[in-house]
Symmetry: C2
């Protein structure tokens, strides 16, 4: 216990919906996520998290039904499985106006919003929150999400990441290059609000977008929001290594996490960044008791609410008519890539018989590495194992809202604090300053090349 420990970052990993990750739990009497339309649920949660010094509250999002086949989406509607769900940008602004320090992060898909409009919405939110915004850049969507935006079929991984590269470049140009530092003068005597010689059109012309500029918002405290990414495909990892400041991972064990982290850090170094420019957040859930026995008993009580169908539908383990498979179906009989990846994992735990899809769900709620059950001290020990594997932060995944976060705040964080693993006070400054110690993206980030890049470009003046 004499190791010098670095503080971990803690992120509440939620979604503006009923059933985000742990399906069926909304039915518990103490679960308030069914009231997600009520902004007060989220304001109270954000205040609770801020009082507990969580680094951020993060809202996942979708652009359509998580899965569906043809016209069938019964299971998603019944489970409240990411439908109904509301927009996270709009919600976060309300939370910004009721908090002061906590980071406010959101998913936005390149599909859903034109980059000129999106960049301005995020600049607005960064102004309102005084520099607390993070953006999880998402490129993948379910087919229904694609069809909501007029695309018949999803483009392939590589093509999507090329699209994403152009998308982020448009936003980087607007955030970093369009307004120089010092452009805003507010000079009442001479009647000059902004100095036009320090504001630039970006004249972007690419495969998908043509954007003239200038950016309509003046520079917000962070300019570019803190950039998150969660891609796990090869193109996705490359994109993260190039663009992300923080990477979400969902490794089944610390060992797997260590491998993933090393690989992405290596890719980042190859791209001219420092491996430490990236921070890794692992998703974990917790069930805490005063004794091990109490925690296990509580875990069994949560089991009563587990919706096997919900987990299967979330993994899109449905047949071509959108029906959930019988839970005794052997995993090997199911023809999806998602499931084939899962088989490898389940086979580590189920060795005495052919694993079924019910085993897969069991593992999603009982993998001892990711669904940690125990006393606060036991949980802290497990968290240390993750830290030793190289993670920088934890996405705390709830069973119930707000209960799971209340317990984490009241029982787990105090123990982590005594071990030097959790902050007691916020660092001052923007979200990026709190996490990375600097106000702006560093010079190694690809967005940095647009700083000053458009000076003179629009000075064809008389």
């Amino acid at each position: 216990m004499n190791k010098i420990r670095k503080k971990l970052h803690f992120n509440a990993f939620v979604m503006n919906t009923v059933s985000h990750i742990h399906h069926g739990q909304w039915r518990r009497p103490d679960a308030k996520q069914s009231e997600f339309n009520d902004v007060n649920l989220w304001i109270e949660l954000a205040k609770l998290l801020e009082a507990a010094k969580f680094d951020a509250i993060f809202f996942a999002d979708v652009t359509g039904l998580y899965g569906d086949a043809d016209s069938e989406f019964d299971i998603y509607a019944k489970e409240g499985l990411q439908i109904p769900s509301n927009d996270p940008i709009v919600l976060l602004s309300a939370l910004a106006a009721h908090t002061k320090d906590i980071g406010l992060a959101l998913t936005s898909n390149i599909l859903q919003s034109h980059p000129f409009h999106f960049a301005r919405q995020l600049s607005t939110l960064d102004h309102i929150s005084n520099g607390r915004v993070g953006w999880n850049i998402v490129t993948g969507v379910q087919d229904n999400g694609s069809r909501n935006f007029g695309l018949g079929q999803l483009t392939d991984h590589t093509e999507r990441y090329e699209w994403a590269e152009e998308y982020v470049n448009v936003t980087y140009k607007l955030w970093e290059g369009s307004w120089d530092e010092g452009a805003v003068l507010k000079d009442r005597i001479n009647g000059i609000y902004s100095d036009p010689s320090n504001i630039h059109k970006i004249h972007h012309r690419g495969n998908r977008y043509s954007v003239e500029g200038p950016h309509l918002s003046s520079p917000s405290p962070q300019r570019t929001p803190v950039l998150f990414q969660a891609g796990s495909s090869e193109s996705g990892r490359k994109f993260a290594a190039k663009n992300a400041e923080a990477v979400f991972i969902a490794a089944p064990s610390p060992e797997v996490a260590a491998t993933q982290i090393a690989e992405t850090r290596r890719l980042a170094r190859d791209l001219g960044r420092n491996p430490e420019d990236l921070k890794f957040f692992q998703g974990l859930s917790f069930i805490i008791g005063d004794t091990s026995e109490e925690a296990v008993a509580k875990s069994k009580e949560y089991d009563r609410y587990v919706s096997v169908d919900g987990y299967l539908a979330h993994t899109a383990i449905v047949d071509k008519n959108g029906r959930v498979y019988d839970r005794n179906t052997p995993i090997k009989d199911i023809e999806t890539n998602t499931v084939r990846g899962a088989l490898e994992l389940v086979s580590k735990y189920i060795t005495d018989r052919e694993p079924t899809i019910a085993d897969l769900v069991y593992l999603r709620t009982h993998n001892p590495h990711t669904c940690i059950v125990g006393t606060a001290e036991q949980i802290a020990d497990k968290i240390e194992e993750w830290q030793e594997a190289g993670i920088d932060g934890i996405n705390v995944v709830n069973w119930v809202i707000p209960g799971s976060f209340e317990e984490f705040a009241d029982e787990i964080l105090p123990v982590l604090r005594t071990r030097g693993l959790a902050q007691s006070e916020y660092v001052s400054g923007s979200f990026r300053e709190k996490i990375f110690g600097s106000a702006f993206l560093n010079e190694r980030h690809p967005a940095a090349r647009y700083r000053g890049a458009f000076r003179g470009h629009d000075k064809l003046r008389g």
Copy 2:
């Protein structure tokens, strides 16, 4: 004074920017609009307006520079003339979380946001605000706005309104037709959050959009937000007559307003709506004094801050290099449609010589019908003239924020209340209930035809 008077509606007509309508006033020592990036300015203003029982706060918006020619936008930057400016949807959510009754309205252009995404953002805001959202449907943009969204040249009026028709129809389908009443069950016992048989895909296929659905948000208190429109072209008036519940006008006199209102009401009747389905809001500014003399003196003091260049640039009265014309240029020598319309107006007031563009600006700040200067009683008399011409509400256009609204609240509204022209308390319910007495769009509105229209449409099930 024995007439029975109807209460007027009052709308604070602002924009998330420095200089919205009355250019140059941001330089006044008491003007806080230069701090528009600070959400607290707007939270305090919204609270002030709510305490004064204003019906709504409305945020105008742009998609690009109000005017520019080639690379020249010096005048806009210097004047803070709608640049920098921030997104109104994001701001309104913060205001929603700090108010209870006031309506929250915004401009959104069909150009800037895909209708599937936009519909969800507004549903989210309508949930957060408990049914207080209004949308001003805008189709026209400046050329720079068009080029920010990848369109080289603006489509013509007629084409834009066809586009707008498709756009609003997609949103109507999502808001009115995708989720039936009663679809959300929150049935914890049987594990059914929503009843899938009451949720429908919309399968929209049109010239510009292909949107499958279902809408991701469950029905918000108003479903469709209160619909505003401000179009003045022939296609614009038709569009308003068909779709709007409230119409913004900027008539130079009550007589002109009466004609415009009668014409739009007649168009609405021809389209199967009741003429009274539409309410008309006239934009007016006020300078108040304890005596007429004091008001006139105050008006002269505001004159000191008027930026003639700002008004000219706002009207896009700039030459083809983006330079503001000399203020003594005769209006007749300038080749823009905007100015030709203005000439007719100015000629009513300037009859002894050739009107110049400086006269035009003078009229914009001194037209006694629209920039009303006087005591509270004199101002109330003028407001009665507008009401007799048929207006239902007033867009209060500020000189300074928050001073112009403070004065209106503290000095003008009390007089209007004694005359029965302003409410003392809010009506309960949503924005639409407060203004129109009904929760949802009435049966005569074109959106009503989508209610129940998709039932069975997606029931090709086994």
